[in-house]
Symmetry: C3
Subunit: 183 residues, 3 copies
């Protein structure tokens, strides 16, 4: 009934990737998506350090296989935070609304959301979004912006994502049609 979808999850942290502490980003992303989507999902997960070339290579690899890549971590103003730089470096198009709206959502919870440099971009047929590092902030952000993600993936040629309305209600304009392959 539902199209299957591959989703890339990338946790970016020097300390978590070297085992100094346990990564909590990947489980938070996985749980939110599994609860939100009807589609059968294949998750492709990576836990990597805050190294721009490594992040860029990871995003390039995953964008070839996935319709959506979510990153967590590395979006602050500190010198080691380079996730936005890496994401912009591999972007075909930048979608400034995602950065704006993700910060606006987080600002309802913490004034320091203003410091986040999160971006959303398109690479080929893949949408890439930078999420915050904390599991609580990941959930708040996805709750706040995911309604627009399925239609964004339609527009770049990805699978037809369908959400569980009790978590989030995907919005598509009336002109958007459910593809025959999805029925």
């Amino acid at each position: 009934m539902y199209q299957s979808a591959s989703i890339g999850l990338v946790s970016i942290s020097d300390r978590a990737s070297s085992g100094v502490y346990e990564d909590k980003g990947l489980p938070a992303l996985r749980e939110w998506l599994a609860a939100a989507l009807h589609n059968p999902l294949e998750f492709v997960e990576r836990l990597i350090p805050d190294e721009q070339p490594v992040i860029e290579a990871t995003l390039k690899e995953l964008a070839q296989r996935c319709c959506l890549v979510l990153t967590t971590g590395g979006t602050g103003p500190a010198p080691r935070d380079v996730t936005p730089e890496a994401t912009l470096a591999v972007a075909d198009k930048v979608l400034p609304g995602f950065g704006e709206q993700m910060r606006a959502v987080s600002l309802k919870y913490v004034p320091t959301a203003i410091l986040s440099r999160q971006v959303g971009v398109v690479r080929g047929a893949c949408l890439i979004l930078n999420l915050p590092g904390q599991p609580k902030a990941i959930k708040e952000t996805l709750d706040g912006v995911f309604a627009a993600v399925p239609y964004g993936i339609d527009l770049v040629g990805g699978p037809y994502l369908e959400t569980r309305e009790e978590v989030v209600k995907a919005f598509r304009p009336k002109s958007a049609v459910r593809p025959p392959a999805a029925s």
Copy 2:
């Protein structure tokens, strides 16, 4: 009494420009402006495909003749959507507040407004704004941001635009003076 003004209107759509369907962007732009402004207006209209070089050339030509150029269409994330790229390519200055606020206005109506990549820029003595493609969204956006447009045009050296307050009330700081030529 009122200074005359030339305004460029550019509808950007592969399908409308090739006659596959009727363009509704230019009439929507023209009607809103005619209702909103006291000034005698000359509209310079173009209906062109989603080709970045064509859009850039059109914007360059119109910016020489007009104090304001409004585009409609081509601002989404799809591969053929290149209006923001073309607009940024001909910009002297980017005014990020227009993109932010146009998306914020549209977000009150549809969550997918986050996907829009609309920008506002200055080229020479001309303000260029990307508007959405749908007539309803064009009106919502102009209702939401036009109050700042006349003063923006003052600052880049254009004619003194005066609005009908029942449509939109132009805002100028108290220090702004109505030029003698306009009285």
Copy 3:
């Protein structure tokens, strides 16, 4: 008790710097900061024209000595307004949330806030923010965004700023620790 801090204040205006009128930007910045912070402050002040190379050189010099540099003036769409261009030219990282939120704060007061091109950036261990030109707007903007500034300065390696809560309440995540040197 409190760490001392050097803060750069830069008023950018052709007319004020040439003596055509009195600069009101530097006193407005100084007063707000002195009222808001417990830390002993050294202000490094500059009054310069709207010349991009002069602004860039001033920002580079002050960023070496200061944890925070606030500019006032030169952020509009007019041809002589080049403060954002100069600020971006010396930036290591851009923090788009500051531009977005400063405009959102000012939009509550005047619709023409949309025309402001203010940016916030990091250069080395210094945070640089462009503020509006009018004393009233300077205060409104700092009231609206300063809560995030002390933690932003922590993250780039600057001194531990402590605010007077009756003016503004600095926000830091629970994981942030007051450094031993500050106690």
